[in-house]
């Protein structure tokens, strides 16, 4: 929602909302569950932190309904760091989003990692001044979220597994669908819009520009510097690392290594250098061993 601050100017515009994501590009956004972890992440070179009560691996292990974090925790993390702080609301839970906006978070992640609050509707994100990032497994889903006002997209992957295969699948799917649109004639785009279940105007825009109208990060299963660099080589603008850092043996060192590998994603020598002696990676779960009802990426519609 766009409005005017008499002391400065127009706030909440698409340009301002999408603009913050532009500034995060080439960076690593890290999940943190305490102020102390947030400081470690900032010190390691995180471009932003995601404040939450449990990392996806624990949500997965402990089960139960996963909700927005306690406002006290979010306040503590906001005071602990100078970089942007993101927080998660449940899919469709517009009141959690209102609360997060009131707390002054810099970005809201309407996230499939939490238990959905609405199995039909996502949040009408145009109603907010704060920008939103949403997950997507394919281009149609990404464009539906952008149509609802998302200012940034992250491919979903399979959170909390440490298995990068789903992240690979989703970023490849999105980029290959974009490439397919680029090759289509105008009349074919109408059918493509129908098949993608996305608005024609957005489909035509992607076909013309060859990219999403918002920044595209990747998420879900990134656990090593090489994982992050692979996502960048596959066309991501940046990466989210969830459980991969603070579920590993030496979080500070691994976090700094992933940051460096994200910048030097096309330089195997540097990736090799930063990958040395990182200690134990998160143990992880193979996505193939997860029964379908426990796959978070299938949440969202």
């Amino acid at each position: 929602m766009t409005s005017t601050n008499p002391n400065t100017g127009e706030i909440g515009s698409s340009r301002v909302k999408r603009g913050l994501a532009e500034m995060l590009k080439g960076g690593v956004i890290m999940d943190v569950v305490t102020a102390e972890q947030a400081r470690i992440a900032e010190d390691a070179g995180a471009v932003a932190v995601m404040a939450l009560e449990r990392v996806p691996a624990d949500i997965r292990a402990q089960g139960g309904v996963a909700r927005m974090s306690d406002p006290d925790l979010i306040d503590q993390i906001i005071s602990a760091v100078s970089i942007p702080v993101m927080a998660k609301a449940r899919i469709g839970h517009f009141v959690e989003a209102q609360v997060l906006q009131a707390l002054g978070v810099d970005y809201i992640d309407e996230s499939e990692v939490l238990s959905p609050a609405d199995y039909v509707n996502h949040i009408d994100k145009w109603e907010f001044t704060v920008p939103f990032v949403c997950g997507a497994t394919n281009l149609g889903e990404a464009l539906r979220r952008i149509n609802e006002g998302a200012a940034m997209i992250r491919s979903k992957g399979e959170a909390g597994t440490g298995d990068v295969s789903e992240a690979t699948k989703h970023i490849r799917k999105i980029t290959s669908e974009i490439n397919a649109l680029k090759a289509m004639t105008k009349d074919e785009l109408y059918v493509a819009a129908k098949e993608l279940q996305a608005p024609y105007e957005l489909v035509a825009e992607v076909a013309a520009t060859g990219k999403l109208p918002v920044v595209l990060f990747t998420a879900g299963g990134v656990a090593t510097p090489a994982d992050a660099a692979m996502m960048m080589q596959l066309g991501a603008d940046g990466v989210f690392v969830g459980s991969g850092i603070f579920k590993s043996g030496d979080p500070a060192k691994r976090a700094a290594a992933i940051v460096k590998a994200t910048t030097m994603y096309d330089d195997p020598q540097t990736i090799a250098e930063v990958s040395r002696g990182l200690g134990e990676a998160m143990v992880g779960i193979n996505v193939g061993d997860l029964p379908a009802p426990h796959r978070l990426a299938e949440r969202g519609w």
Partner: protein
């Protein structure tokens, strides 16, 4: 050495460097990303993009760019910083994290993230006499402001309330806002004039 097609680098450690590369390219420069000292050595001007200053600081040290860039600035290399880039060019920073360093060069004190959280980010029109009569449409994203302008630097743009958001000092140029995202190329053109004259 001035050339009509100058080779201009954009610090590509993190942030919106692709936008700067595109603008510089459209204005007729040979625009190249800079992540290594060898790449820096070949450019006649440098842009430090928007992004996170804490991250750029860490990565510029990790990849051995900090001292070469500082030497280049001292030697007169034209450098333009937007937002985080302005912070990197400032001699003094307020609200920095522990241990955060800047490259320095601009005799100013900059406050990071001076307007509040992202919900306070904004866009507005600013008069900018050095660029002509037409105002600049400026986008401020968790932007810094220049709290104090030292004797060597000159303010060239302010908000309506007088806060300084654009400064110049010889071959150095810094703005709190992001001309690279609005399609108004006049700031980059102004910077390229410095590069061509250097």
């Amino acid at each position: 050495m001035a050339a009509s097609t100058p080779k201009v680098g954009v610090l590509a450690l993190q942030g919106d460097f692709r936008e700067h590369l595109a603008v510089l390219g459209e204005l007729g420069a040979e625009a190249v990303p800079v992540r290594r000292p060898a790449e820096l050595a070949e450019v006649q001007g440098l842009v430090i993009p928007g992004g996170e200053s804490t991250v750029m600081d860490k990565l510029s040290r990790a990849f051995g760019l900090r001292e070469p860039v500082q030497r280049a600035i001292s030697a007169g290399l034209p450098v333009y910083g937007t937002c985080a880039g302005l912070i990197m060019l400032a001699d003094r920073v307020l609200d920095a994290i522990d241990g955060q360093l800047t490259l320095g060069g601009l005799d100013v004190t900059v406050r990071r993230n001076a307007f509040g959280s992202q919900v306070d980010s904004f866009e507005t029109d600013l008069p900018m006499p050095v660029l002509g009569d037409e105002p600049v449409h400026a986008v401020f994203i968790r932007a810094p402001i220049v709290e104090e302008v030292g004797a060597a630097a000159t303010p060239i743009g302010t908000l309506a309330d007088g806060r300084v958001v654009a400064v110049e000092q010889g071959n150095l140029l810094g703005t709190s806002f992001h001309p690279e995202v609005t399609g108004d190329y006049r700031f980059h053109d102004y910077f390229l004039q410095k590069v061509r004259a250097a």
